[in-house]
């Protein structure tokens, strides 16, 4: 017997009801359920299919008729189905559409749908990757080849083609790039900053970027190369392109380069190219111990974290340099109250300026070369009959004030030592001296004062309060002596504020990505707010070479 019920006054389209019929028929206690609107045509269908129940006589086209075939059931089957019907109707009306991922099945379609696309991220099988990369280059699109198993010959051909067209091929086997904030394949969410990265090593880039973030600094771009780019065969074609791109990018102030040790010939080429760039570069050739720490603008690092640390130091110095006016006086003076601080400053400065420190320390003079001078005001010479300048800083106050007259001095390095035993407010004295000095200076010949603070937040004077006082009075405060010395040297360098003005590489202005291969890469890009289209790649003509060849000729 057919059990039945009618749900009055609830119109549903027939497709919804067919779907619901199917769903309800799967319930264990029934053999089949038919759910239809009570139209005359449907009523005759209910009759013909054996679902008739006389209740349906009174159903109108606006009522839902439910016929149930069930054998030997000891539960109230009508109540059960009625409940399930309500649930189904509710969920049928709650279908939501999420944000759709843009998709295409042909490269041309992808380009049409995303006309601004400038990069194709390829993660398809290696044997097809080269063909697609060539197509992308033909359409003037940059390429990131995540795919591996691409031959050396193909890699050379692709990279040469890219170079001729002013494009870059990252990879093959390139796992990581972050360009203009776009995470390409394996990448970390990294703060924006001024450090650009070139890396043949994917996880190397990831570790450096995350270390940079740990130091509260950020990156402009990280350009991946793939592991083979620096081999003798490939000759670092993409590494050179990437270095040029970053050197032309005005937002990138520091470049960090990471790779395994390159072929010697390639290493020379890379170092030479780096020396042509008027930006500091941190180079890490993993596993090859650097002979020296610095060669002109290149800083050699030994480990990933060291590379990141040096880059961050340079980054902070760059930011500080941008915040101060250019100086006219080309001499650096240092007036220190701490003897060891003076010694380290002298050592660092001597290294930078390629001069030697004073060995005698006569009158506390730790360095006196080419007019640059670092003095330890805590030397016995100054403390005869008066307290140590850490307790009574008035002697430094006078020395600072006197520098106002010495127009050749552009940068003054000082320390501020706080803590038990020290002066209650050493910043006050420094500020007073600087004020006096500045009175004697004109705007086009400023005296830039760079301070480091020795002491903690818990000290009676409070580190932050002292720093804030200094900053409020135009004094630059850095974290440590290497930063302070680097900045001072940078400021007396005549090219310090001469920004190279070259055209920013188009790719670095922002990427729009055509993603061919792994769908999750496209979803990641979309969730990062990057314009992306997922190209559902498949081999031409299903991989049939005869048909593919015909298609090529029928274009």
């Amino acid at each position: 017997m057919v059990q039945a019920f009618i749900k009055k006054g609830s119109f549903q389209d027939s497709v919804s009801l067919m779907l619901i019929s199917k769903k309800l028929s799967q319930i264990e206690d029934v053999s089949e359920v038919s759910v239809m609107m009570g139209t005359p045509a449907n009523k005759s269908l209910l009759r013909n299919t054996g679902f008739w129940n006389d209740q349906f006589d009174e159903a109108t086209p606006n009522d839902i008729c439910v016929g149930i075939k069930a054998e030997h059931s000891d539960i109230d089957i009508v109540a059960l189905i009625s409940e399930k019907l309500e649930e189904s109707l509710k969920s049928a009306n709650q279908q939501k559409s999420g944000s759709r991922l843009l998709k295409a099945r042909r490269l041309e379609t992808a380009i049409n749908k995303l006309p601004d696309a400038n990069l194709v991220l390829i993660s398809i099988a290696g044997e097809y990757a080269c063909g697609l990369a060539n197509d992308a280059l033909d359409h003037n699109l940059n390429v990131m080849l995540f795919s591996d198993n691409v031959s050396v010959a193909d890699e050379i051909q692709l990279k040469q083609k890219a170079t001729e067209k002013g494009l870059i091929v990252m990879g093959p086997d390139c796992g990581t790039s972050i360009i203009a904030g776009a995470p390409l394949a394996f990448a970390n969410v990294t703060p924006k900053g001024n450090i650009g990265i070139v890396g043949a090593s994917g996880t190397g880039i990831q570790e450096i970027t995350s270390q940079i973030a740990l130091h509260n600094q950020g990156i402009t771009h990280a350009i991946g190369l793939g592991g083979r780019d620096l081999s003798a065969d490939i000759g670092g074609i993409s590494a050179l392109t990437a270095l040029t791109m970053l050197s032309n990018d005005s937002n990138t102030k520091i470049i960090t380069f990471v790779s395994k040790p390159p072929a010697e010939s390639v290493r020379k080429k890379i170092i030479q190219a780096m020396q042509q760039i008027d930006k500091p570069i941190v180079a890490l050739f993993l596993g090859s111990k650097p002979e020296k720490m610095q060669d002109k603008n290149i800083y050699f690092a030994n480990t990933l974290d060291e590379a990141a640390r040096i880059a961050c130091l340079l980054s902070k110095v760059e930011q500080a340099a941008e915040s101060v006016p250019s100086v006219k006086g080309r001499l650096i003076y240092g007036l220190y109250t701490g003897g060891t601080l003076a010694a380290e400053a002298a050592m660092l400065l001597a290294e930078k300026l390629d001069v030697t420190t004073s060995s005698s320390h006569d009158k506390g003079i730790m360095l006196d070369a080419k007019g640059h001078k670092i003095v330890d005001l805590g030397d016995d010479f100054y403390t005869v009959g008066r307290p140590h300048p850490m307790i009574d800083p008035s002697i430094r106050e006078q020395e600072i004030a006197a520098l106002g007259k010495n127009n050749n001095v552009g940068v003054l390095l000082i320390d501020l030592v706080i803590g038990y035993g020290a002066n209650q407010n050493p910043a006050e004295s420094v500020i007073e001296g600087v004020k006096q000095a500045k009175k004697l200076r004109t705007q086009d010949n400023p005296l830039i004062v760079i301070a480091t603070v020795t002491g903690t937040e818990s000290d009676p004077q409070n580190r932050t309060e002292q720093i804030n006082l200094l900053k409020e009075n135009g004094i630059v405060v850095l974290d440590n002596l290497p930063e302070a010395v680097l900045l001072s040297c940078k400021l007396i360098d005549p090219v310090c504020h001469n920004q190279t003005k070259s055209e920013q590489p188009p790719l670095l202005k922002g990427v729009s990505v055509i993603n061919a291969g792994l769908r999750s890469f496209a979803e990641d890009l979309q969730s990062a707010g990057i314009a992306v289209i997922h190209y559902q790649w498949a081999p031409i003509a299903g991989g049939n070479p005869q048909l593919a060849n015909i298609l090529k000729k029928l274009r």
Partner: protein, 421 residues
Amino acid sequence: MKYNSINEANEAIIERIKEARPHWIGVKPAKEAVPTLQQGYKLLHAGPPIKWDDMTGPMQGACIGACLFEGWANNEADAINLLKNGKVEFIPCHSVNSVGPMGGITSANMPMLEVKNMPHGNYAYCNLNEGIGKVMRFGAYGEDVQQRHRWMRDSLAPALNEALQLFENGIDLTAMMAQAITMGDEFHQRNIAASALLLRTLAPKLAQLNRPKDEMSKIFDFLSVTDQFFLNLAMAYCKAVMDSAATIEAGTIVTVMTRNGKDFGIKVSGLGDQWFTAPVNTPEGLFFTGYSQADANSDIGDSAITETFGVGGAAMVAAPGVTRFVGAGGLDAAIETSEEMSEIYLTHNPMLQIPSWDFQGSCLGLDLRRVVETGITPLINTGIAHKKPGIGQIGAGTVRAPLACFEKALIALAEKMDIKG
């Protein structure tokens, strides 16, 4: 070749399709529309050429129905004898400027819709929609079916023809379809808006006819409940357009897609009248209660001419009312479907703008090369017939054209153009 390149030829075809303006100008007996039907036992059928033995249930059922309707046999057994003994000649509708839904069986005295493509002057024909349930196109042939066909021949067709003559140049179907696509029709699975617009246009003229009130009332009743009445007009429309496009005789645009229950057949602009066939697939979809996939007949009918033109499955996004036939995704799935289809069509039809597709036009210019390149085969929205003759429609769903016929055509084109693969 008149054209310097395939792309140039395709451009010319697209231009011609865009220019086409088919009007519904009349209803006439098949033997007048298709003069070859005047002599002998001849039946038009859907799809590429087929023999009686190879026909599936619905088409065989319709053949029996047509023999009875024409009076060539007095009963089912006699009709089957006649058909089995090869006494009846079968002609594909497509070979005589015609199309027919499902079985597509059309005989001399069945009425046909006449459509004229005004700028190019060519005609296309299609039989009349008989409504739903037990109908001849799905293979039913019983007395109720016969009765309806006689009524259509004697009453409905003459009245419609008479009313049409009261219009100057008949009814402009492009304008009507442009409106209906914004109202949720894709012209294959769903024609309810177009059918309603059509009745609205016809009504004042029908009312002017000097015919008995009860006859007119029956006609109005029929037109008011026949939701798919416009389908047959849409088919004739698409046939008129694609026949006109085929006169370019070059390029790679598919001008015919059709199925006879056994084979799927296509024709391509650059390959003239040649059929390229491959075995049909079986539609999948939703079934009326009591029926299941196991009962479904394999793909059949000339109605895929709508997808050839670029509506139907390709315009799924226009018809939210039928979108769930493609799966549970609703509108999203419909957008996906139309987006996928737009990969294999060369352009969009500015005449048929789809609101739910940001007013992009429906697809236009199905390119053989694109199909083979991507492996994306046209998706066809279709009714599902019962395998056995005499039962009729049991559901509706979608089916894909088989890739092989496109591959065969591509190879043939390469040979014709002396290109070696």
